[in-house]
Symmetry: C2
């Protein structure tokens, strides 16, 4: 009786239906789907045709139940509609799909990290990617790592087993940006930092400091507005302007901060880059159309997302993932060099 069409409602076809139509057992159908090489070509053809004719599709729930593999991956990322995290989420998703996984995203913020984990575990995810910008999030990621495969995306975090960490080299990006300003002849280069509890913010501070030091320049205090937004950059720039010896260049920890800073500079009647050069970080959309176009550091978020997924899949499949660190890339525009290109 199994598989027989016994009602009026047309249910979606199951293996047994395909088997009946092809004149084989459901087991053979299963084999055609999973190990086609074990089935005689002529039989396989018949089964494949039956599948096509019926529009048969595997039932993932049943499959997951039998294999204990859900093909689901959880992605935890901060709720902030920030450029980096959202770019990454997209990249991870695309990479996952082409690897046969579906991603479920969730933010810990309306509720709690524990609640998110619970949500994921109930769904039966095979692994989790945690976009962990702060130490707190990273610590939670580490806690999970004992339970199931976890990959953290966290710049500047120590890579301690069993947690695998993927990151962009923020320190290098910051050094590149700072070097660029030094090469232009600047000697008083300020830094507008992001929130200190973010790895990215700290790494960029360190890169800036390191490059200044290696050039024999004085390392001023870090300025910060408290957040990553343009309003914070505006406030930070105002502080800088009140300083006894005003900097001739500002390296902002992201493009939004830079945007706010540029506005503050304009308000103060200063020209960019003639009076103060500005460099941002991220290369978000439209930075080329800021006033003036913003020199910034592009981050390979797509790469990073792919790497994160690859590392997670490797962990799930029991392989040992390789450490990955993608290089950022300086994009020079007018906010640092002027329209004449120098």
């Amino acid at each position: 009786m199994a598989g027989a069409n016994q009602g009026l409602v047309k249910r979606s076809p199951v293996m047994a239906d395909v088997a009946a139509r092809a004149g084989v057992s459901h087991q053979t159908v299963s084999r055609v789907l999973n190990e086609p090489s074990l089935v005689r070509p002529s039989t396989r053809k018949r089964v494949e045709q039956a599948i096509a004719e019926l529009g048969y599709r595997r039932n993932m729930s049943a499959r997951a139940l039998a294999t204990k593999r859900s093909s689901l991956i959880g992605v935890v990322s901060p709720a902030v509609t920030l450029f980096g995290p959202s770019q990454m989420a997209t990249a991870i998703q695309a990479a996952a799909r082409s690897s046969g996984y579906a991603t479920i995203s969730a933010t810990p913020e309306p509720t709690s990290p524990t609640e998110v984990l619970d949500f994921f575990l109930t769904l039966g995810v095979e692994g989790i990617i945690v976009i962990a910008p702060t130490r707190q999030t990273a610590t939670e990621a580490r806690r999970l790592a004992g339970t199931l495969p976890v990959v953290a995306v966290a710049a500047g975090m120590r890579k301690v087993r069993p947690l695998h960490v993927v990151a962009i080299d923020n320190e290098q990006g910051a050094r590149d940006a700072t070097r660029h300003l030094i090469d232009l002849g600047h000697e008083r280069i300020a830094h507008i930092a992001g929130p200190r509890d973010w790895f990215d913010a700290r790494a960029r501070i360190q890169g800036w400091q390191a490059e200044l030091a290696s050039a024999g320049l004085a390392v001023p205090e870090v300025t910060e507005g408290g957040g990553w937004g343009a309003a914070d950059g505006y406030a930070a720039a105002q502080e800088l302007l009140a300083l006894p010896s005003r900097p001739t260049a500002v390296f902002a920890a992201n493009d939004d901060l830079a945007l706010g800073a540029m506005r503050a500079l304009h308000h103060a009647g200063l020209r960019i880059p003639e009076d103060v050069a500005v460099v941002g970080y991220d290369d978000v959309a439209n930075t080329a159309f800021y006033e003036p176009p913003l020199t910034t550091v592009r981050q390979p978020f797509d790469d990073l997302g792919r790497h994160a997924l690859e590392a997670l899949v490797a962990t799930i499949e029991g392989r040992r993932p390789e450490a990955e660190l993608s290089p950022p890339q300086l994009v020079v525009r007018e906010s640092s060099v002027g329209s004449a290109g120098g």
Copy 2:
């Protein structure tokens, strides 16, 4: 033997384990989880305690298999990292979770819409939300609607059963923006439009035209750059500047276009808003820090996302969803009224 801990590997506990520990049958455990009112309080307590002690968690795959309900919802959205779609996706996700659903997002772009549908159907999603900015996408959404519950987010699309459509009233937003400029005394108000195949672009054109007409003003030709980016806005603005009688105000179909247009105006040595007033659309992050801060129209994407999800859940549960149309809101800044406020 069922439920007995017979191996060395500690598997996650199943219902039978909970039942054994609580001294009841698995059926009672199931009832405690699904219809607690049918279980005597004392028994329920024991079961709940056993659940807590074992850290038991329901297996969604098994549950989905038995109930034919996956608790999964598919979200199709264009790959573009555009403000609207990504905001919506986030809102939908949050709303879904609080309704007990998980969302799986996918973009049709690397592959095909059919492929995405296949992906979703194989996963067993209970319904799909299609963010359909163009007629083509909307048509595909309509095709699906016969197969399973579908809600489309599409501005300006006819609401024909069985497809339920949710949207923001773009025409009203455009009218508000245009009205604002008319009230400021402008008589030559140009419009920089988005790609014509987008519903949103068309609705904004219509709103602009309608408001001009109702004010007895001439309706000029629409200008467009071909896309939604700042570069397109820049190009479109250059066209406007070459016109015999230059407009005194520009209403751009989104903030990026406005940003590009403002840059073109600056390049031409024009002041904003004294020479040309500019209004955008979307109120993306940081528009308050543009040069000058941009007057724009805020869209309630969160609301829209929630509405879309609510409509889909209603459809899934067999209820009849209500039509929803959220109002946009004009945000006045200096790009139209100047720093003095008028």
